[in-house]
């Protein structure tokens, strides 16, 4: 066992998979620039030392080559800022037998590669009837962190709608490592949403909340489609992902003092989604609240709420409550950002009201 940040847990997973399987490689913007950050959030920093990086090799040769011709000992590949290229190269290399793990810097840039992700990566296996398949991982940092509307989004729900993509949102060090390994071994495109405030950096925004966690030594994977019950309770079921379940945990502690007992479920993967664990929980509580940082309109919570309405409305004693970012872009001003992202207080208030219904 070792205590690790999520950033290091992800790095550990990627490193071990690269050692285990020579077809695994990292690719992205600002990958392993000597003196640089290692993506935007350090996850791939230093990997080139062990696995070779095109930028390192070019630098050693005085950048004479304007890039690198020989990729045979080069498994950390820095790309130009070209998202269509980045995703397309992942699709093509995956079709040809590689397992790319791409770093997008900010999930918001997924829109720049939308065609490659949605029309190409997601449909290639289907259109070829299994003749080709696309084992690739696209890592997308998400969540509001005082960076303004184009570096703040939680985009899970866009991609939940796309047949052929798997969508996961690991939010503990244990899950980050186990699910990243699972994603790399999966034979399909997997979109990994990593919350910027949970990486475990030293910036102030991470201060109040630690996502440092224990990670077992040695190899393990965490399967997709199995939710984690983060806290057991009997009065209200709260389904929340990424940063939101951490806030729900803090809200639940407050409510516990008032005699309200919350069960908190972190779905961990959105495609596939573990509806069973949610249904089992509301069988007990009769009350369902969904919290996500993604917008209200068409958020993944809407899908969960409609699923429950279609399949298990008899289990509910009260209307479903959905707490999400309102349908406005994420504002910069910290006071406004705090207002639109569900807070511990709002989660507590809404859960309290629901419990008393």
């Amino acid at each position: 066992m070792a205590m690790m940040s999520i950033a290091n847990a992800l790095k550990s997973a990627i490193t071990e998979e690269m050692r285990r399987d020579p077809t695994v490689f990292c690719i992205g913007e600002d990958e392993d620039i000597p003196g640089g950050m290692g993506g935007a959030f350090t996850v791939t920093k230093g990997l080139g030392e062990e696995f070779g990086a095109n930028v390192r090799i070019a630098k050693e040769k005085g950048f004479e080559l304007k890039g690198v011709k020989d990729f045979s000992n080069n498994r950390v590949i820095n790309t130009p800022i070209s998202e269509i290229l980045l995703c397309g190269v992942c699709v093509g290399s995956a079709m040809a037998g590689m397992r790319p793990v791409a770093d997008l810097q900010y999930g918001d840039f997924l829109f720049c590669m939308m065609d490659q992700l949605v029309n190409q990566a997601a449909k290639m296996c289907y259109m070829s009837n299994g003749g080709f398949h696309v084992p690739m991982v696209m890592r997308a940092p998400c969540g509001a962190s005082n960076r303004g509307a184009q570096h703040a989004q939680s985009l899970e729900s866009y991609f939940v709608h796309v047949p052929g993509l798997k969508v996961i949102c690991p939010s503990t060090a244990y899950d980050a490592k186990g699910m990243m390994k699972q994603a790399i071994r999966d034979n399909n495109p997997v979109l990994v949403f990593e919350h910027k405030l949970l990486y475990g950096g030293k910036r102030k925004e991470a201060g109040q909340l630690s996502a440092m966690g224990e990670v077992p030594d040695g190899d393990y994977t965490v399967p997709f489609g199995k939710a984690a019950i983060r806290r057991e309770g009997k009065d209200v079921t709260i389904v929340a992902n990424l940063l939101m379940w951490y806030r729900a945990m803090q809200a639940a502690e407050e409510l516990e003092k008032e005699g309200i007992s919350c069960e908190i479920i972190d779905p961990r993967s959105l495609v596939p989604f573990d509806y069973e664990t949610v249904l089992t929980s509301i069988e007990k509580t009769g009350k369902l609240m969904i919290v996500h940082e993604d917008h209200y309109n068409g958020g993944w919570g809407a899908q969960l709420a409609s699923y429950v309405a279609e399949n298990a409305i008899h289990l509910l004693d009260a209307p479903v409550v959905r707490l999400a970012a309102p349908d406005c872009p994420i504002p910069f001003s910290p006071i406004l950002e705090d207002f639109v992202i569900p807070s511990i207080q709002r989660i507590a208030e809404e859960a309290r009201k629901l419990a008393r219904l």
């Binding site: 490689f25 095109n54 304007k66 890039g67 690198v68 011709k69 020989d70 990729f71 045979s72 080069n74 498994r75 590949i77 790309t79 130009p80 070209s82 998202e83 269509i84 290229l85 995703c87 397309g88 190269v89 992942c90 699709v91 093509g92 290399s93 995956a94 079709m95 040809a96 037998g97 590689m98 790319p100 065609d115 490659q116 029309n119 190409q120 290639m124 296996c125 289907y126 259109m127 070829s128 009837n129 299994g130 003749g131 080709f132 398949h133 696309v134 084992p135 047949p163 052929g164 798997k166 034979n187 399909n188």
Partner: protein, 325 residues
């Protein structure tokens, strides 16, 4: 001045061109009869590009095509039976009936799933080429695209990186003068829409008469040799013309009649190459007709087979959303 290939190769190239021509004609009539579903983007008139570029490729080299893929796919080795079954939406189609006219492909012959998003295949071909490099293989990728794709962002992002990384890929712009209905003179300041924008990306380029199969084949040989030797990509712009419309219902009202007449009557790549091989005396008229009749029979057989081939099961609609191994 092009060097004439061996008799066997010249005849082989002609036969593949003829097969593509007859396949496309057959598809056209099946649509007129109203018995074939979907839409079509036909490659009639562009056979020399497909055959000249792909004739010397190895089976384990890859090819990436567009929404107009039939010529490329047949030249890369997909059988007309598998193509025809796909056109009829049948289970034995090269994509199990789930791809259709714009997505034909077959991994076993190195034909990547054809791509109906203009420019969508460009970075994917670069990815396959990067994979070959990382795997220390000497395989190459030939990626076709149209003049329209040269104005897509994907073109510029991909050429920039392909040049930088010296990828073993040959990008072939089939410039047929029209991006769907729009003349290229209205879409780009360069007459050579792809080759004219190659140098800025550090990629050597050639402009070739796309209706002369021998000229295309020579350019292909040079580019393939460069790519295999690790010297990087080439952009080949072939000047050609589609005989029919962009798609099924396009009557080509936007094309000047004398332009179409010139390309179709005087520059037909199949008819012209037929003349050449007869003049060279590599085969007699009578023997050639026999070869042609065999090809026509193969296509007729494929049509008959496809018409009565089994339909896909409903269950198959939900299969291979995720890979099932």
């Amino acid at each position: 001045m092009v060097t004439f290939p061996s008799n066997e190769k010249a005849l082989g190239m002609y036969k593949t061109m003829y097969k593509i021509r007859k396949y496309e004609e057959s598809i056209y009539y099946l649509f007129l009869e109203g018995i074939m579903p979907g839409t079509i983007h036909q490659s009639t008139g562009e056979e020399a590009s497909a055959v000249g570029m792909l004739y010397d490729l190895r089976k384990d080299d890859w090819m990436a095509s567009t929404h107009r893929p039939a010529g490329h796919d047949i030249a890369k080795g997909i059988t007309v039976r598998a193509m025809m079954c796909e056109m009829f939406g049948k289970a034995e189609g090269c994509c199990g009936g789930k791809g259709g006219a714009m997505h034909t492909g077959d991994a076993s012959v190195g034909a990547m799933t054809a791509n109906a998003i203009v420019g969508g295949n460009l970075p994917i071909a670069a990815g396959a080429a990067l994979a070959f490099k990382m795997q220390k293989k000497d395989n190459v990728v030939v990626c076709f695209f149209g003049d329209g794709a040269s104005n897509e962002g994907s073109y510029h992002e991909t050429m920039n990186a392909a040049g930088l990384w010296k990828l073993p890929v040959i990008y072939v712009c089939e410039n047929n003068l029209y991006s769907a209905n729009t003349s290229i003179s209205l879409t780009c300041c360069q007459e050579d829409v792809a080759a004219g924008r190659a140098e800025i990306y550090g990629i050597p380029s050639e402009v070739v008469d796309g209706n002369d199969v021998l000229a295309v084949n020579e350019a292909a040989a040079r580019a393939i040799a460069r790519a295999r030797a690790g010297e990087g990509p080439t952009i080949i712009e072939v000047k050609t013309y589609r005989h029919g419309g962009h798609s099924r219902n396009d009557a080509c009202g936007y094309r000047p009649k004398d332009e179409a007449d010139y390309w179709i009557d005087q520059r037909d790549p199949v008819k012209n190459f037929r003349k050449v091989i007869l003049e060279k005396g590599i085969i007699s008229e009578e023997e050639l007709q026999k070869e042609e009749a065999e090809i026509e029979q193969e296509i007729d057989d494929a049509v008959e087979y496809a018409k009565s081939a089994p339909l896909p099961t409903y269950d198959s609609a939900l299969e291979n959303v995720f890979w099932e191994g």
